[in-house]
Amino acid sequence: MNNLPRLLKVSFQRITRNPYNAFAAIFVMFLTFFISGLVVLVTVSSNQVLGFFESRPQVTAFLKDGTTSDKIKEIQDRLNKTEIVSKTKYISKEEALEIYKARFSSEPLLTEFVTAEILPASIEVSTYKLADLSSVAEILRSDSSVDEVIFERDIVETLQAWVKAIRNIGSAVVVFLVITSFLITLIVVGLNISLHKDEIEIMKLVGAGAWYVRTPFIFEGVFYGLFSALLASLVLLGLFLWMLPVLQSTFVDIPIFHNKVQTFGLVLAGEVLVGSVIGIVGSLVATRKYLNV
């Protein structure tokens, strides 16, 4: 254990004496972790947006004025009997006004002359499956009390396609970058082993064991992985905080990143873990391949 600080010092000296090698490794690994983090964050937020659209009332039927409460109850009962409907909710004209006012609270001009009378009452219907939206819409359209039916099937399907594409393309890019980072670690550590060939020879001749020779190179790989992961996480955090106001105004009702701290904590922990693993495995392979001890 006495040797640990010494070996760390040796490792640090080797890194600082070959700054271009270190820069190349850190740059490529930073890119890996930055893009990986970005893919994770975009996937998480897309899932949240998708979840929001999937969970909110998906079919809205606007009712004609004068529809009685009995008729409304009859429509709700008919829908609930189908067993494809998870929830129905009646929104009265007054409630519609409240929702409207809350949504446009920052723009008084839009709310000033709106009254409950001009807003329609509606029934919001959620289904268990996205595929059942059309059936529910048909049932509602066939009812004479229903004025108009809207549903967000297209939005959800488009979103699903996007999330899937982001996940697939992102995963492929991340795998490619992780392999590149691993190879870069291997090459840079291997290059440093070549640069210190004479020193290693002398170390062996004066009685240094295999692990004494190997350990500083392994520390070097771990340093590249850890430093790049931390740097990428910090830059991502900075970028996110910078973009947060824009994101919040774009996705007004959608709670993207409602667990900001947890999400970033997981990204940071994941990147540090993957960074360490790439560093350790890359440098171990390099020492096995290039270091004859």
Binding site: I202, M203, V206, G209
Partner: protein
Amino acid sequence: MIVFHEVSKQYDGLTALADINLEIGDSEFVFLTGKSGAGKSTLLKMIIREEQPTSGKVFVDDLEISSLPSSYIPKLRRKVATIFQDFKLLPQRTVFENVAFPLEILGLDDPQIKKTVGEILKLVSLEEKLDNFPYQLSGGEAQRTAIARAMVLRPEIILADEPTGNLDSGSAWEVMQLLAKLNSLGTTVVMATHNTDIFSSLPHRTLIMDEGRIRDEGKQTKASAKPKKK
């Protein structure tokens, strides 16, 4: 004690050592001499297992070197230290750090290292140069640093491969005095050299090598004829 038992070494059909039988006792001082390519360095390398014999066995005390597990080699090299013609100092470390290096490997703490290295550097008259880097040293000083590094673990055996080869005569004699001093303290010294002046003027056992064989055994002192026990 170092023992070579019918040791041969061949490289791609070329014979480097042929049928060597040799015993070097504890605390002996032995010169190995002969032309370049006679096999002196190969013989020394076998003692620290930098080379393996093609046939035969090499022993250091009770250890058969060629069958040692590779994990034991660092331990062997702390017991048998080596000095080289080109010094083999770590270029980016100071004199102090070079000499301290074998102690660092053993995991000694800093105060212990400082004390031991200070004593050794005093012994080789380099206490004023401890912060110098190898490129700031004369050949003699660099070789004395290498000797200090070899001495620092108090090895039982020191192998010296042409240690005076790159030195002027004054520095060469300083190095010889140091090796003689170590030998007088009980360390076995095996030194390969071309330098006729040195081995002919000192009363130690001299092995003359030619084409991988020990052709002749020169003068033998009382000490080397009857190895003394430490």
